[in-house]
């Protein structure tokens, strides 16, 4: 998995893997990245006022990988020189463990931050992945966005969130 741009895996995630996947440690002078940004999503101790015990993630794996590819292609379309890697964890996660790792490489920090932020916003919108939250006193499937990759409004909303913080 360490060299893959896109992965869904029961194994613990490593920021180093996604950074390496986008070439952040690459000495190749033909593709110099001036900046690599990364994002790590962690399991929170509390959600909506409840104490979280664990999360169980599942996915439709072949479609999840295609969704990640699509997200990276969208980012590449917005910021032509970026490369994006997305790894998502599956199975049982304890509080504090990483559920998603993303890295973006670009010639300059602006595009790298923007592409990384855009990628996590889109993962939340269109990746076929679900979390089952087990908290003190019960459990619930978390249901967020209705996944529709062709929904321009959602895509634009993701882009607007990025624009507000990064550019």
């Amino acid at each position: 998995m360490s060299g893959a741009l896109f992965a869904v895996t029961p194994d613990r995630l490593s920021l180093d893997d996604v950074v390496q996947a986008v070439g952040g440690h690459d000495e190749d002078p033909t593709q110099p990245a001036g900046a690599v940004t990364s994002f790590l999503g962690l399991v929170r101790r509390e959600n909506l006022g409840k104490r979280v015990l664990r999360l169980e993630y599942e996915s439709y794996e072949p479609l999840a990988l295609k969704a990640f590819e699509r997200i990276a292609a969208e980012a590449h379309h917005r910021w032509p020189d970026v490369r994006v890697a997305v790894h998502h964890r599956l199975g049982t996660l304890r509080v504090g463990e990483a559920s998603v790792a993303i890295a973006a490489a670009a010639p300059h920090r602006g595009e790298a931050f923007a592409a990384c932020h855009y990628a996590i916003e889109r993962v939340k919108q269109i990746a076929p992945i679900w979390k089952h939250e087990f908290f003190e006193g019960g459990d619930v499937w978390i249901e967020g966005a209705v996944a529709n990759p062709d929904d321009d409004t959602a895509r634009e909303a993701a882009y607007q969130r990025v624009s507000r913080t990064c550019e």
């Binding site: 999503g41 993630y57 599942e58 996915s59 439709y60 072949p62 479609l63 999840a64 295609k66 998502h88 559920s99 998603v100 996590i120 993962v123 939340k124 919108q125 269109i126 990746a127 076929p128 992945i129 679900w130 979390k131 089952h132 499937w141 978390i142 249901e143 967020g144 966005a145 209705v146 996944a147 529709n148 990759p149 062709d150």
Partner: protein
């Protein structure tokens, strides 16, 4: 024709299985398949407007015509990240 249905998260809990098969008339769409499932499992009905569809691991529309051997996935609202 015969298709395989994949169900995830709460949809899997409702039906009690992540995978099942259905016989459908020629020319059936994913929407017709959903309706036959919702007849068997009434709790699916509340997802009618909130479910996404994939045919052979590609996002598709409910109006997508199905073919024998297709794998049709019904996806409740997602919560990755």
């Amino acid at each position: 024709m015969r298709v395989t249905v994949r169900l995830f998260a709460r949809l899997r809990d409702i039906t009690g299985t992540g995978e099942l098969t259905r016989e459908l008339p020629a020319g059936a769409t994913a929407a017709l398949l959903w309706d036959t499932l919702a007849k068997d499992y009434a709790d699916l009905d509340s997802y009618r407007e909130a479910v996404s569809t994939a045919v052979n691991a590609e996002y598709s529309k409910m109006s997508h015509p199905l073919a024998d051997g297709d794998e049709v996935a019904f996806l409740p609202p997602v919560s990755g990240g």
